[in-house]
Symmetry: C2
Subunit: 386 residues, 2 copies
């Protein structure tokens, strides 16, 4: 396994400790945050929020974007707007970062877990159909028979930036008339055909946390083709204040969820270099793909990249033969200050989600037992100034 | 009234449009945000969060501080930690920014509104006693008789930075054994005797929004003397992750509520100049106090400042004779680009809180009808470099 470690290290000849992912900044980021501080508009008002929203619209081709304080709150607000209510169930995958299911719980709802599929690591359409087989539809929508609870939404997540079977999932959601909200926190730059992730349901959500392809420190976004939903997201994320020159009137329970202008200033600089950063992510992934091709003891996971979809390769994922091999690699790398990570502990095994309804999830457990998240930091030469 | 406008303008001879409050930045803020960007630690990890927490502990004398993404989420998390549950009532004042009651609603609880008192604009101990008179106590705590709902907490707010009757309120809370959480969003620098606001109950919360005495763009903090609560606040605000070198395990529903390091970098610079900014706030308030002394048609509100407590005079508040006079001043000032504001519409009159239990609130309505929030921006000469 030392050979694998040496290979990964060879991609970053200048680095000692090697993080899983690291922001790529240059002069432009410094200039824009300084400009923002000088303007004094660092908070709830300022041009950078608007500019970053426009840039995300241009890049993704999704007509509306609403900047939010982070990706978790973006998903929470999107679920509220999708009509998720206390007591509901929201179908999602067990193989995800905990934020996906936390956001569901913030609504007072529970996740209902289905499996992921082998080809994508994302929500499995077959498993989704299996779960819906235990539900019945009437004039009021879908009810989970065993629990008597309403099915309020379907939330697939594009794991590590690999596009799930979103076309098939969107078809099931449409035919079932269940709102589809795409958790695209990890998939900025990932597309199904030419269509950006986050655009297949009624809303999608992005994350700009420090470990993502681009970062605003903390930040996220709701993207949607629905103008009314976008307006409502903006209204609710800015305390639901009714415009007035000097009176403070709010027409519903609102949220302090707007991305501060300071963070958006960093985000504008990051959006400018996004195409170059995605090239860098792909360059690194291509090196992994070539190096690990044809090996029998380890597989580099590439999802459906090049097979109808494009992955952003946010993190690079190696699949080992079994849990002992995966653990051995995790131990070796971390001892050598190469900070690899295991796959997230499947959410249905966490104490707060243990009793949530679910299908069998053998593929989820197989990925958890065998996967290691490996460094995908963009090499310095891709961090060009705009 | 033009005389009053001319006076306020005279405090800022260099300014055209005059905002209600404006951040005070210098080279130090630019240097620290640039240092933060260069470090690449702009997000969930980094030294500035720890440093800002230490500085708030030193400044307030409150033993523990946990940096949060904004003041609203800080209050929400504090209420969760205080044990507020769905269906509960939380006693608070109707005269507050909407965030106070929104945070209560996020818990699934409802605000129960009491009046403010004439001397402080903060929660009235008499009105609190009146409300508790309609409640009964048994082994499980307090129940509001009319609704049958549990009283889970008391949340006073130090309006515009004037310290409420917090000693008396804390005594009632202690005797009643109801958790006291202080909303000190507006009162950084305000003290009861020598004791900083936010330290009288089990937890207090601060805000560093762009309109506050100091700002982190968006940000807030939970302060407490209780180490266990502080540790739990840190754990829950950082996704409740259990420490492990490479496994992702979370032991409860957690939140992505940590203040990003980028915002904390700005906050560290702001904390360094806080004493000087508070001097500036006081200088401006002193000018108001002198100018408006002895006038019959308008009063400059000073709370109990100098009478056992110290106000930070976050915003300066003029009280006119009646609603028409207040409206006339609001119209005149805003037309002349002096951006004064009315007092927040009392929360019990907003549609989402209209049916919440409450006492009569005549003082709240009187303040709302007569108060105008006036500029309190710190003059440039107080913005010295450290």
């Amino acid at each position: 396994m030392q050979e694998y470690i040496d290979f990964i290290r060879s991609l970053y000849p200048d680095k000692g400790a090697l993080p899983l992912h690291e922001p790529a900044f240059g002069k432009m980021e410094e200039e824009l945050v300084v400009d923002c501080v000088r303007s004094t508009f660092v908070s709830t008002v300022g041009k950078y929020v608007d500019e970053m929203e426009r840039m995300v619209v241009d890049f993704t081709g999704i007509p509306y974007a609403v900047a939010i304080v982070n990706g978790t709150q973006a998903l929470y607000l999107a679920l509220l707007l999708a009509g998720v209510k206390a007591g509901d169930l929201v179908i999602t995958q067990s193989l995800s970062f905990v934020a996906t299911s936390n956001a569901i719980r913030y609504c007072g709802a529970d996740p209902a877990f289905v499996d992921v599929d082998n080809n994508t690591m994302g929500l499995s359409p077959e498993s989704l159909r299996e779960f819906l087989g235990g539900c019945q539809r009437d004039a009021n929508g879908w009810t989970h028979i065993a629990s008597g609870r309403r099915i309020a939404a379907i939330v697939p997540m594009h794991t590590l930036g690999h596009v799930c079977q979103i076309g098939e999932i969107a078809r099931i959601a449409r035919e079932s008339d269940i709102p589809l909200v795409e958790d695209a926190a990890e998939s900025l730059g990932s597309r199904e055909g030419e269509t950006h992730t986050g655009s297949h349901g009624i809303m999608g959500t992005l994350s700009f946390n420090g470990n993502k392809v681009i970062t605003t420190g903390g930040g996220g976004m709701i993207v949607t083709s629905n103008e009314a939903l976008a307006k409502k997201a903006k209204h609710l994320s800015t305390t639901a204040k009714v415009p007035h020159p000097y009176e403070f009137m709010h027409d519903s329970v609102g949220y302090n969820f707007r991305m501060p202008n300071l963070n958006a200033a960093l985000g504008v600089a990051q959006m400018r270099r996004l195409p170059s950063l995605l090239e860098g992510q792909r360059y690194v992934a291509d090196q992994y793909r070539e190096f690990f091709a044809g090996r029998s003891d380890v597989t580099f996971f590439t999802g459906r990249d090049g097979l109808g979809s494009t992955s952003n390769f946010w993190l690079n994922c190696l699949l080992f033969e079994d849990l002992p091999a995966r653990n051995a690699f995790l131990e070796m790398t971390n001892k050598q200050k190469m900070f690899t990570r295991a796959m997230w502990k499947p959410l249905h095994t966490l104490p707060m989600f243990f009793e949530c309804p679910r299908t069998d999830v053998p593929v989820t457990m197989d990925f958890y037992n065998r996967a290691v998240h490996c460094p995908a930091t963009v090499p310095g030469r891709f961090v060009i100034e705009a």
